[in-house]
Amino acid sequence: MGFTTVLSLARYLFYIILLVPVAVGVVGVMLPAVGFFPALEQHSLSSEPITRLLAYPGIAKMAGLSLFTALLATLIAFIGTVALLAQFYQRKWLGLIQHGLSPVLAIPHAAAAIAVAFLLAPSGGAARVSAAVTSTALPDTDSLMYDSFGLVIVLALAIKELPFMLLMALGILSQPSVKQRLEGQMRVAQSLGYCHQTSFLKIVFAQLYRQLRLPILAVLAYASASVEIPLILGPQNPPTLAVAIVQWFNYTDLSMRFQASAAAILQVLVTLAAVTVWLIGEKIWQWRFCQQLASGNRRWGSVFVKLLAGILLVCFTLATILLVLSMVGYSVAGYWPFPDLAPVQLTLLHWRSALQALSQPISNTLIMGFVSTSIAVILVLLFLENEQQSDIKRASTSLADKLLFIPLMVPGVAFLYGLVWVRQWLFADALWVPVILAHLIYVIPYVFLSLAVAYRQLDVRYVHVASSLGKSPCQIFLSVKLPILFAPIMVALALGAAISFGQYLPTLLVSGGRLATVTTEAVAIASGASRRLTAVYALMQMLLPLLGFVLAWWLPTFLFNPAKRANASAKRNPAC
């Protein structure tokens, strides 16, 4: 089999893995929603599940809550991202912020939710600090958590979304062609008397937004259907739609599945509505913003940006310190009565019992992460190589970039249950293959996003030189491109593994609960009796992906460094 065949096979496989499971899953959910479910002796179509769902008390409130929390969280994260960028663009601080926020990106949603709960609970870190000042003996009975507007959900989602948006934006801004042009334009604006923040908003932001739109919409779609965060932090009367769907699917009464399927379709509509509202808001903003662009106001937005960026940084830093302190504290705490800021005594008991209980889940997690990420990285590399070699470069590029977002846009609750149903009659006995496939659906897009920039920026002159020396495309791919791209490949592996680690719903549903991972165990134990054990589990959840990233940063300098090998005086590695 020639290299070209491999490449085009990889291309097809790439599209198949991205699209087929999602499509099959959506169909698998739509059929029960219209009353067709052979396993439960339902062979005829009916509108009963839908009418039953619409008659369900509080269904409008559920949908509304999903819509509201997703939109507000995305808006906050978006404004925060823009403020931070406007304040710190082209400044040293930006690098610091980028490094500080990257670990947050790697934290699974479940761990983030647990961490926020630790901070905001009436007896949590924040309350202890304030109790130390006011010397209260008992925790407050009024709690910030579980409020019926879902404001805590908004907070947790925003905390998770902001780093993603910021890193996506930085990725776009670091493209050499974009970077050079923008730097010139910024200089011109500033020489015309526009202050730094205003020039960013009027020049960079306007160009950045077009490319940032798709990632933002993906974040918005994800937020509108997210399960872990509202499950741990959200209200229950009613909960968000996605949480209700999961609960209904888990009912022992199997006939609830019809209603759950109908609700999954409603979830797709809610997600679509969220995207539509965002796009309408975008148009309104555009109209207002266009007037501002030409207003000549040199200081427009600068005070606001300065203030917001400052507040954000202080809050984020404070919250992170408190969070880490309270989680680490609980994980080694003996007795720790409420108003005390530190535990009465320390013990390693919780770590010992958690490590004992987690040995199987950890190995499951590692195997899943390793296998799915390796497949994803190989597939994406071959896909990108195919893209570079083929003539249809332009069309394929934009198509792939858009299709990539399909698994990120279609709510997991809407297609995963359908996928489970299909799995049961296709691979009834297989356990690992379907789970890894389900992970791949989520791992591939992130690996692609992380690799594509570096791959497409690769200096073509290396290829030209190698070709002129008589190397075949396959040889160039293996011994020129891959070594140069070693560092970004490692980062992509770490990111992919982190995404795989964090998967809750796909692991739980597709394995039918038979494969426990650190994440599924952590979500289960978060509602358990021991806050100390929960802290250990959540810390484990954060440490595993971090370990991956540390390896990814450290390995290239140690293991394989072509620049070093060709003497330090050699030309700067374009991939770095």
Partner: protein
Amino acid sequence: MTLSKMCIIGLLCWAGLTGQVSATTVQFFGWGGSPQVNQYLQWVSKQTQARYDITVNHVKLADTSDAVTRVLAEKAAGNLANGSIDLLWINGENFAAMKQSHLLLSDWAGQLPNFALTQPDKNPSMRMDFGVATDGQEAPWGKAAMVFYYNQQQLSSPPTSLAELLDFARQHPGRFAYPLPDDFLGISFLKYAALALNPTRQQLLYQPVTDHALTRITQPLFDYLDTLHPLLWQQGEFFVRQASMLQQLFSDNEILLAFSFTAAEIPAAVSRFDLPKATRTYAMSDGSLSNVHFVAIPFNSARANAAKKVANFLLSPEAQAYKQRLDVWGDETVLAIDALPAAQQKLFQVQSHSSALAPGAYQKLLAEPHASWAPALRKAWYARYGARL
């Protein structure tokens, strides 16, 4: 599956062979997931060997329903007198299923000499298993009952009845919680309240539920809950989903009173630092909802007489007292300790943990209502207080 079958066949052959030479071996089938229980059964075997020359072999099950299926299969295969199971640890649903299919030996439990020590006339739960009459098909072994716990440093005198619980909630609004009725402990709280609030109509709860009975029982129940809910943790707007959450809230002093169905888990949690040292466990004076776990003899047991001897030994004050020790198993005795001779009462007076329930603390045990009440109460609760997911 085949491997475990072979093991069991092997065991049985071995048991049969040795049985001819010396002692009888009683095949005790029971859940084997707890090291404490397994160790206790090893102790039992030593005792019965010394006393009756009977060895108890614990066949450890992952799920008791496996044993139910086994007996059913034996019956279907025509094995009517040489079954593989002699004694079976069972209650609730599995018992109801076996009773319905006539898989158990009848009218033997009441004749055990030690059965009288349970004072079955005062404690109807000794003859009722989740609302199903045992008809002498199983002998009580141990029990779990609802206990409440509080932090001595925060609360000097905890409420001892459902009425006092409401007073407590008024004095300390937001400091009590119970889980959603989907949770085992949540529905148990509703059953306890239904029984305690309907002292004159309790017998209704021990018969299959009817619409009329449901209305009569839930009227005082909902009146009570209507008053209680705004005084609950989170003003009754948010209920914890799992019972285990109560322990977490309690350990953070978010709530000052909590309850559990496993009294032994409280001192264990104190040792794990998950509960404060000042935690004290007690039982309510207007009754503690309790369910009993039993041992039963399949209809086709080959050694039914030996099994009865073992069941009787399990009910002896000595075996019950040893089982109740916190360092052994911590399982509550089924005997009515007050009625025992003083010397035997002493056996039970080993209090090794200040957070544990004092022996004999239960003042009145409330048997589980008929099995049909749980879904009916749950549905009525959701209808009144809204869907919570």
